[in-house]
């Protein structure tokens, strides 16, 4: 059969295989694995069949822990199951993984490997997560590129059934999961032909069922547990051969050959690198290049990491090897070396002697790992360099990093490398994905596309890295050499190094409305020199003008795409233009000939509008480098913020980095010329707000999506309590725009006080904030005891009186109390000068910041509060401690890309709820009122900001736990975010979002605890629904179901109101 090439990313390729070979999938979103679950869910929703001819039952759980539990159950009861995860998600699965392996249940977990949250989280790729799972008993199979990810997924599913050992199949997050590559696809027929159905029968025969009752024992005692552990050994011994057998079968069926451990290089190599994952592609590319230059370098790729087959491993390693560097993409602080290194040392200890083995770290959090770095490692090895090295960073503290001396270009001859500078919403990335599709599907060229994004949620930069080559592309790193650069946003000139890495004779395309003769003057001096020195051909197009006149609106991407096809030289010009036209025709044919024609005209117009920009020999006008931070902003700004804002953060040395992840607040302002943002001055007029500081904001310029409905609540809360606030922030949008290094939107006031902020994880935020409360209480208790003691013993009258007053004000949070605390601090400092040894005084000084009570705020979204963190939230709300929980309810997992949560209302379409959410929104507020001691409010800022403020103030005052559930418009609702206020009003006035405050303290006064703040109903539910894509979609995709669900949703609204009103 003719091989079928497809363009796909790793996640899709893997999900396709997993879907085909599973009956059940229990999933939970986490970057960068979410796409796999979403694909599976989408296919299931559209009724796609697996290789057994059945639709896969894809179920979203409340957490990865839940997903793993469900998988364990499904396997026990006899269904072929799978799941997808990464990072913290995998960590939450660990307990079940031990159980699953212990019970010899065959399953495949597909993991897009990602960094773990340590000093900070990172969504990017490394092996920190999977390496933690190496003791679970799961077999671990690694893939190094998209093709392999697909093929190893097949091998893993086939092998788990035969070996009875569960498999963890992993590939590099983003680098493989999100990279688009041209691969040979594998069909379900082909997969079916490889699967021995007898193995499925054997598996089914193990299913728990009353017809063949067994007890999977719960407990074993010291007499037998140990022996029980040892029963599995023979399965692990047999496993490698079975995996290799399946690899050989795949080879026979597809022509693609794989080995458990694969040596690349000359048979007489002395220096060898050993690695896992996408880096092995880059190493292979590099040694091909270096060996052609006369070197004799080898590489050993590790695919089957667990069970580690020493026999196969050693057999693959040439006898000539004298030095080995093992590269680990993870860090285990305090270890002798990282896991792969230790395994290699152990594997060779009895088998080979006289080999020097060193280990090093690379590529944490998708840090670049380039051929030049590969060469540096080989050089380091050759020079008998040290063990425990790092590559890719500058470790100027412990001096473990090795230096890259020579920059090499190892890519295949004829490769065309194209880099595009785009803007968040301008469609550049989507257009480039299309370009890859067009070229990949219609020519013999191999393609690769990788996309980088700013972490600002709106208006950030995007960089697309595209490669086109005649041979398979192994360059698993960003473009560091480019043959074509497109600048879709000319404003970047002067801030970013636009032409970095452009090759001799390369092409540069800029989108500008300037006249040709003025364009050269737009560039910086550096750019002009590069253009002249490297004889760069410069082209320009006024994309906005053409897009407008062609009726394409503000989306310049298709115009730029045509210009790219015309000038990049990837294909001959006419062929390229014909291909885009054909693509457009295919895309729009069903929309009618007029639309096709309109697009064709736009393509012709764009093609005709590309002009060559004259490059003058002499030119005295150029653009200056633009300042990215204000002058004299201090060392943190200059050493860290400035390079990061110029996208040169990779150059920051270890010594500049904070040891524990903590950095000053108020740094986001640097990006805004140091000018403070706007305080919420409107709170000043509120009668219930006591002496607020409205002179300055405590939150400014958060890089959220514009129109984000969460930000106003945080802005308000910080304005109300900022100078004594500690925030525990659940992972999610709020933690990304609130706490991404190094630009922090939380600020300090003129007294140096402001919110102190921390993020633990996603699942534990209520407990995290609760712990903060415990700490503050403990410190205040201790402070109080010592103050009481000092009052008794202190001879200084002023201080004595001041301390006595501080006890009177101990629970006050007025300005008087705050000012008095400052006065006490002053007196304490004075007393310290004159007093001799005084442990009590010292203790009070140590704890003096606790004179004023702290305001503990536990902030997070609905994914945390309703789902993954609900257990903890529930526990904290059932306590008697004074914590305040602010739930920014966007009714969807916003940060991971719009997956449904239990806050998602019935009928709304979200990921994992493609066919509309079937059940109603959980009434979290009502549930929390059942504890009796908790303050509960449901607010809607767009409808009534004063009542929202009142709820926050009351929540803060309440001495027990409080929860404020806040209606938060989100782009995932799918409407123009300029209209959030209007839509919020509709939400209130159609009876969708109840507004109330439930204050148990009022009971003591014999008053009704419920204060109903709801608006008069004067809008229909339909009028609310019609604005939002999440609802409109269902009426367009499944009208019958939409009608059914919306009828029920209406009843949900009524019930929600009724249930709450009954509390009065």
């Amino acid at each position: 059969m003719e091989p079928k090439y497809i363009n796909t990313d790793g996640n899709t390729a893997v999900a396709n295989v997993a879907y085909g070979l599973s009956e059940v999938a229990a999933i939970y979103p986490i970057t960068p694995s979410s796409d796999m679950g979403e694909r599976a869910d989408g296919w299931s929703a559209e009724g796609r069949k697996n290789i057994f001819g059945e639709k896969v039952d894809v179920v979203q759980m409340q957490s990865e822990g839940g997903a793993a539990g469900a998988i364990h159950g499904a396997l026990s009861a006899g269904a072929l199951a799978t799941t997808f995860t990464a990072s913290q998600g995998l960590l939450l699965m660990l307990p079940n993984m031990f159980k699953i392996a212990g019970e010899m249940l065959p399953v495949v977990f597909h993991v897009s490997a990602r960094s773990l949250a340590c000093q900070a989280l990172s969504i990017f790729g490394d092996h920190s997560d999977v390496m933690v799972a190496r003791g679970t008993g799961f077999a671990m199979l690694a893939s190094s590129n998209v093709q392999e990810a697909q093929d190893m997924a097949v091998i893993a599913h086939l092998s788990t059934l035969e070996t009875k050992i569960p498999f963890l199949h992993f590939f590099d997050g983003f680098r493989t999961s999100h990279s688009i590559q041209k691969i040979m696809s594998i069909g379900y027929d082909q997969i079916r032909s490889m699967l021995d159905m007898k193995l499925v029968e054997d598996f089914r025969n193990m299913a728990l069922r009353p017809e063949a009752p067994v007890c999977k024992v719960g407990a074993q005692n010291p007499d037998v547990y140990f022996q029980g552990r040892e029963t599995v050994n023979r399965f692990y011994s047999a496993c490698p051969a079975i995996v290799q057998k399946n690899m050989d079968m795949l080879w026979e069926k597809t022509g693609r050959k794989y080995k458990l451990y694969e040596y690349i290089g000359p048979p007489d190599a002395e220096n060898v690198l050993i690695a896992i994952g996408s880096s092995t592609e880059t190493i292979e590319e590099t040694i091909h290049y270096l060996n052609k230059r006369g070197e004799k370098l080898g590489l050993l790729k590790v695919r089957l990491y667990r069970p580690f087959s020493v026999e196969d491993f050693v057999r693959e390693l040439p006898g000539s090897v004298r030095k080995i560097a093992v590269l680990d993409r993870t860090k285990e602080p305090g270890s002798i070396g990282e896991p792969l290194y230790l395994d290699v040392v152990a594997a060779l200890s009895n088998e080979r002697h006289g080999i020097r083995i060193i280990g090093g770290r690379y590529g944490l959090s998708s840090k670049e790992f380039t051929p030049s770095m590969v060469k540096a490692v080989y050089d380091h090895l050759e020079n008998d360099g040290w063990h425990n090295f790092t590559i890719g960073i500058n470790d100027d503290v412990t001096l473990r990093s090795i230096h890259v001396d020579e920059e090499i270009d190892t890519e295949q001859e004829g490769i065309v490398r194209c880099k595009f500078w785009g803007y968040g919403s301008d469609g550049t990335v989507s257009a480039n994905k299309n370009a890859i599709k067009i070229i990949g599907e219609n020519t013999d060229l191999f393609v690769q596309g990788y996309f980088q994004y700013d972490s600002n949620k709106s208006g950030g930069w995007t960089i697309s890295h595209l490669r086109f080559g005649k041979e398979k592309i192994q360059s698993e790193y960003l473009l560091n050499k480019t043959d074509f650069v497109a600048l879709h946003r000319p404003q970047y000139i002067g801030q970013y190094d636009i032409l970095e890495g452009i090759t001799e004779g390369g092409k540069f395309l800029i989108n500008t409305s300037q006249k040709p003769e003025n364009i050269f003057g737009l560039f910086t001096k550096d750019m002009q020199d590069t253009i002249r020195d490297k004889r760069i051909k410069v082209y320009a197009i006024d994309a906005s003008k053409i897009a407008r006149s062609a009726g394409l609106g503000g989306r310049i991407s298709s115009v730029m795409q045509t210009a790219f096809f015309k000038v990049s030289g990837v294909l001959p010009e006419q062929e390229a233009i014909d291909l885009i036209k054909k693509f457009v025709q295919k895309q729009f044919a069903r929309k009618g000939p007029e639309i096709v024609e309109m697009n064709w005209n736009a393509i012709d117009a764009a093609s005709a509008a590309v002009i060559a920009v004259p490059v003058p020999e002499e030119f005295n006008k150029y653009a200056e480098l633009s300042a990215v931070i204000p002058k004299d902003s201090g060392p943190f700004a200059e050493r860290i913020v400035e390079p990061i804002l110029r996208l040169k953060g990779d150059t920051i040395p270890v010594s500049y980095m904070p040891v524990n992840g903590a950095i000053p607040t108020g740094t986001k302002r640097l990006e805004h010329r140091g000018v403070p943002g706007n305080p919420a001055i409107w709170i000043e007029k509120l009668p219930f707000v006591n002496e607020p500081n409205i002179a300055e904001p405590y939150l400014e310029y958060p890089p959220s999506c514009s129109g984000c409905g969460e930000v106003p609540y945080i802005h308000l809360a910080t304005q109300l309590f900022g100078d004594r606030m500690i925030i525990a922030n659940a992972t999610g949008c709020t933690s990304i725009y609130g706490g991404t290094f190094p630009l922090i939107p939380y600020t300090k006031d003129k007294n140096g006080k402001g919110p102190a902020w921390a993020n633990s994880l996603f699942e534990d935020n209520a407990e995290f904030g609760f712990g903060m409360r415990l700490a503050v209480d403990a410190n205040r208790r201790q402070l109080k005891t010592n103050i009481e003691a000092l009052i008794r013993t202190c001879g200084v009258e002023d201080l004595q009186a001041a301390l006595a007053k501080s006890l009177m004000l101990f629970d006050e949070v007025t300005n008087e109390a705050k000012q008095h605390a400052d006065e006490v601090k002053r007196l304490l400092a004075e007393a310290r000068k004159t007093s001799g040894e005084d442990h009590v005084l010292d203790k009070i000084i140590e704890l003096q910041d606790y004179l004023v009570e702290k305001s503990i705020w536990i902030i997070g979204g609905d994914g945390w509060a309703y789902d993954i963190g609900f257990g903890g939230l529930d526990h904290v709300m059932a306590s008697d401690r004074n914590v305040n929980i602010l739930v920014l309810d966007t009714e969807v997992y916003s940060n991971t890309g719009g997956q449904a949560s239990k806050a998602t209302p019935r009928g709304a379409v979200a990921k994992y709820a493609s066919d509309g959410k079937k059940l109603g929104k959980k009434n979290l507020g009502l549930m929390m009122t059942t504890y009796g001691n908790a303050y509960v409010a449901s607010v809607n800022m767009g409808m009534d900001r004063e009542k929202s403020a009142l709820a926050l103030v009351e929540a803060e005052k309440h001495k027990g736990p409080s929860i404020v559930i806040a209606y938060s418009p989100c782009i995932a609702h799918g409407y123009d975010m300029k209209l959030t206020k209007k839509q919020s009003e509709k939400a209130a006035k159609c009876g969708y979002w109840p507004m109330y405050r439930y204050n148990p303290d009022l009971r003591k006064e014999n008053l009704s605890p419920l204060m109903w703040d709801g608006a008069e109903i004067d809008t229909t539910f339909e009028q609310y629904l019609e604005e939002e894509i999440r609802y409109k979609t269902l009426s367009m995709t499944n009208p019958e179901e939409s009608k059914r669900l919306f009828e029920k949703a209406k009843k949900d609204n009524e019930a929600r109101f009724k249930d709450i009103k009954q509390l009065s």
Partner: protein, 352 residues
């Protein structure tokens, strides 16, 4: 006297010749019931426009993609689900079918060749009694030949006819080089009837704004002459039923059409203009006329003034037109009521 208004509509037997044409009148399901109660013999449900579905699906995918590729964590924000195509229309059609007991006819308007049969089959599954295909071609291209346009229609018809068991009607525009020949060729495929004619999309120009605008044009009485003429020409020349459409506002207009040779009429503008009550009024007017003329059933007079039944060699010929021009002063005294009372006048006016 017992007046029998029943007629045939392709394979359907109707209690009277008044059928409600495709329109948004049916959007409110209650209207369906009221139309039936008012005496309508059948209802053509509003058209399923493939173009509209495609546009909606295009817009939907655009809406879904607005926030795509914005940051590393979401390459998309909505699940990649497809527009359901005609599902909503089919759902409405199914519900409409349940609401009334008179025949319900679907109306289909596609732009892609392969969609006609696909959609027709789906419509058939809703339980409708017949299907009306709207052939519609707007000239914008100077190079397309008449033959290719007609061939396309015929191919579509052949495909749908072969796949669908429902009675099939064709509603087409009058603007073909030889509309009679096209109808006759279509008739060879055993089409159950022809609706004369589709009203074309014709934007107007606002001379103050100097812009095109798209007014909703109700038909007026004078719009029915074209159908009247073609009904006369086609009567007994084709085996399919002849259904007149456009400008049928009064009972007398129905009578005219029946005299010319139509089997039934479709009414829309009359209801928009005068309300649902206009149906019983029209029926009453027809009955009164038949009573006055002593006709007991439609058969008694249907096609009486068709070309087939007229001996005047100049009837339906260009000579009529010349005659009109020569006697143009007649226009000054023309009054529609003469049409019913004096068929001679009608003859003179039948081609304007």
């Amino acid at each position: 006297m017992n007046t029998n208004l029943s007629t045939t509509y392709g394979g359907l037997v109707l209690k009277n010749p008044i059928v409600i044409g495709a329109s948004n009148l049916v959007t409110n399901p209650e209207n369906l019931v009221q139309l039936e109660e008012a005496g309508a013999a059948a209802i053509v449900y509003k058209s399923l426009f493939e173009e509209q579905i495609e546009l909606e699906s295009f817009k939907m995918s655009q809406m879904q993609e607005v926030y795509s590729d914005w940051d590393s964590e979401h390459s998309s924000l909505f699940p990649p689900i497809a527009h359901a195509g005609p599902a909503e229309h089919l759902r409405q059609l199914k519900e409409a079918r349940k609401k009334i007991s008179i025949p319900l006819i679907g109306s289909l308007n596609c732009i892609n060749e392969d969609s006609w049969l696909e959609y027709a089959l789906k419509m058939e599954d809703t339980g409708i009694d017949a299907l009306e295909l709207n052939f519609y071609y707007t000239n914008t291209d100077f190079t397309v030949t008449a033959e290719s346009i007609e061939a396309k229609h015929l191919k579509t018809l052949e495909l749908v006819k072969a796949g669908v068991r429902l009675p099939l009607f064709v509603k087409l525009s009058p603007f073909y080089t030889n509309t009679l020949r096209l109808i006759s060729r279509m008739d060879d495929f055993d089409v159950d009837g022809f609706i004369l004619f589709n009203r074309l999309f014709q934007p107007d120009i606002d001379i103050e704004d100097e812009k095109h605008h798209y007014p909703y044009n109700f038909s007026s009485e004078s719009d029915n002459r074209l159908a009247l003429r073609y009904a006369g020409l086609l009567h007994k020349k084709i085996s399919g039923s002849i259904i007149a459409n456009t400008g049928i506002l009064h009972g007398k207009d129905v009578v005219k059409m029946l005299l010319a040779g139509a089997d039934a009429v479709q009414v829309v503008s009359a209801i928009y203009k005068k309300g649902i009550q206009t149906i019983p009024n029209m029926l009453q007017e027809i009955k009164a006329w038949m009573h006055r003329k002593d006709y007991k059933s439609i058969d008694d007079f249907q096609g009486k003034l068709s070309k087939h039944n007229l001996t005047d060699p100049y009837a339906y010929k260009r000579a009529q037109y010349v005659d009109i021009l020569l006697n143009s002063e007649l226009f000054m005294t023309y009054h529609p009521k003469h049409v019913i009372s004096n068929p001679e006048n009608d003859k003179k006016d039948s081609k304007r």
